[in-house]
Amino acid sequence: MTVMEQRDAHRPVPPPAWQPRTDPAPLLPDALPHRVLGTGAAAGADPALLRRLYAELVRGRRYNAQATALTKQGRLAVYPSSTGQEACEVAAALVLEERDWLFPSYRDTLAAVARGLDPVQALTLLRGDWHTGYDPREHRVAPLSTPLATQLPHAVGLAHAARLKGDDVVALALVGDGGTSEGDFHEALNFAAVWRAPVVFLVQNNGFAISVPLARQTAAPSLAHKAVGYGMPGRLVDGNDAAAVHEVLAEAVAHARAGGGPTLVEAVTYRMDAHTNADDDRRYRESSEVEAWRAHDPILLLERELTARGLLDEDGMRAVREEAEEMAADLRERMNQDPELDPGELFAHVYAEPTPQLLEQRAQLRAELDAEADHHAPEGTAR
């Protein structure tokens, strides 16, 4: 054996099929969540964008408060509030072009509203007069998904289809920290990476899946790190810093649109309210923790930046608040009207054409309703 051969003998020979795939280093997220507000980077942010974000955050906070109030008045069946998470909701909507698609979960009605959806339509599911109150194709907002993470493969498939058709459409899908444990999260990210689909996954890590904290959800260094295993970049961002979330998402959207494939973004935020109005968060978290996050409120962070830079004064704030009040008053008024319900519609959309069996059942229900009306009609009156 020559000296050279001896040296080679110490170098492990990889199995025949093995080859290096992707360099993981560029995919890794930063060690700390990306920040813009209150840092030197803020000077580079577009003042018009910051003001727009501010107006949307204030409007979003008011929307959350109004929707929560409507549950107490019995006008909504349930409301999963995104109070505290408005920066993520709003930025997700604002980074998209009109032709792009948003895939929300049930907590993301605000993102749909920020994208231009009528709040009454966005709240239809939670009011309970139908499951979806809008035509998804009109605003390119998918139906609110209640089964966790199941909307993620839809976003991948849509983005993939758009790419096959040669359209430069991007899909942005929202999911929570709990949703990252679901199998559909894994399958969606894997398909997206393999297909290089133009899709952006935004995980709003709000600390809790109802009552279960993140530590019981994952042992990963961060949720953003999960991206590396799929071969896509992971980005970690402060979810209460609206400028930072907007910047990171805008980069991911541009990357996807340019053919670079998917990105996983973890936004670290906090759910200030209970899971829904039906939940009692005192059973699983300390109020001191909630208070600590109050000092890191997304509106506060942006307000501080804008006022320090002279981009916002008392009059400006008042104007934004007034506009938000108008939105809330309009929402309140319209939600206080009873929706029109047509029981016959229950059979109308199950199939393109109702089956013979559904036609029989529709006739049965109609007969029951007629009999009920007869029963309630005053005696001696013809109906």
Partner: protein, 334 residues
């Protein structure tokens, strides 16, 4: 009169031809699944499609059924017409959440705004000597989910016609392919225009006066064989091939039972909670005064699908069907 060149063809060939023709006719039709590309599928149904239409139209996906169906939902939302292949009946179970919670409901939850024209092809049933998880009859799960059409062919011609109709449907269709009939041969005209049957119609495969065998998919040939054997016993059996479990063709089934006065439902799926219970109830509710005997069921036993060396005891066969026919209270007639 034009002469039609009939050649022997297998159900597998007819299914492949249906996919090919649908893809050639409509660029929105995309096939996706495990091994459907280069290999042509484990049953070779998609053989040649990737070569003819490219890998973007016939795509080997990662091995994940929920992902396959979930991405198909998104593709359909964007205007495509996906045809997905579940490799085997039991391998399709990871996709059930997507199927039940989204595919079946999307049209309804969006008030008709977002129909999902997706065809889910599922090789189903036993009789091929498959090991565990390769022989399930999963139709009852699909039948119990409003919003899905559930279709299953029993002949070569129907395999083509029903698959074309399923792909053309604007509703999601679970297309159940009886895998033990994949290699069944019939005379078929592969070059002529193939009639596309409307979904939801049963067909009388054999007319008879004594009793009706109501069946579908893999049990149709078994019932036809039983009907031939029954002649020796003096029974003239009618055989109704349902072809579509949803929508259910009450009209054809009840017209037959009213004629014969007796009915046996035959399928491989379990008896308890299986399709036969629903069919027997529907027939009884509609044809009670025409019935000379209770509607009987010949079904698979209420057991997990048996290992291959024991499956013949589980599958409804000619003798078990004839035993059931014998129990249809003929005494009153004699």
């Amino acid at each position: 009169m034009t002469t039609v060149a009939l050649k022997p063809a297998t159900m597998a060939q007819a299914l492949g031809r249906a996919l090919r023709d649908a893809m050639a006719e409509d660029p929105a039709v995309h096939v996706l699944g495990e091994d459907v590309g280069t290999l042509g599928g484990v049953f070779r149904i998609t053989d040649g499609l990737a070569a003819e239409f490219g890998e973007d139209r016939c795509t080997d996906t990662p091995l994940a059924e929920a992902g396959i169906l979930g991405t198909a939902v998104g593709m359909a939302m964007y205007g495509l017409r996906p045809v997905v292949e579940m490799q085997f009946d039991a391998f399709g179970y990871p996709a059930l959440e997507q199927l039940f919670s989204h595919v079946a409901k999307m049209r309804n939850r969006t008030r008709g705004a977002l129909p999902l024209p997706i065809t889910v092809r599922v090789p189903y049933g036993g009789g091929i000597g498959g090991v565990e998880h390769h022989s399930d009859s999963s139709e009852a799960y699909y039948m119990a989910t409003p919003g899905l059409h559930v279709v299953t062919p029993a002949t070569v011609a129907d395999a083509y016609g029903l698959l074309r109709a399923s792909i053309a449907s604007d509703d999601p269709v679970v297309f159940l392919e009886p895998k033990r009939l994949y290699w069944s041969k019939e005379s078929w005209n592969p070059d002529g225009p193939q009639p596309v049957e409307p979904l939801g119609r049963a067909v009388v495969r054999r007319t008879g006066r004594s009793a009706t065998l109501v069946t579908y998919g893999p049990s149709v040939p078994v019932c036809l064989e039983a009907a031939e054997a029954a002649r020796a016993e003096g029974w003239d059996l009618e055989v109704v091939d349902l072809r579509s479990l949803v929508p259910f063709d009450d009209e054809t089934v009840c017209a037959s039972v009213r004629r014969t006065g007796r009915a046996v439902v035959v399928h491989e799926s379990t008896g308890f909670g299986g399709p036969g219970g629903e069919i027997a109830a529907r027939v009884t509710e509609r044809c009670f005064h025409h019935l000379e005997a209770p509607v009987l069921r010949v079904a698979g036993f209420d057991i997990p699908y048996p290992p291959p060396m024991l499956e013949r005891h589980h599958l409804p066969g000619v003798d078990r069907i004839l035993d059931a026919v014998a129990r249809l209270q003929w005494e009153a007639e004699r």
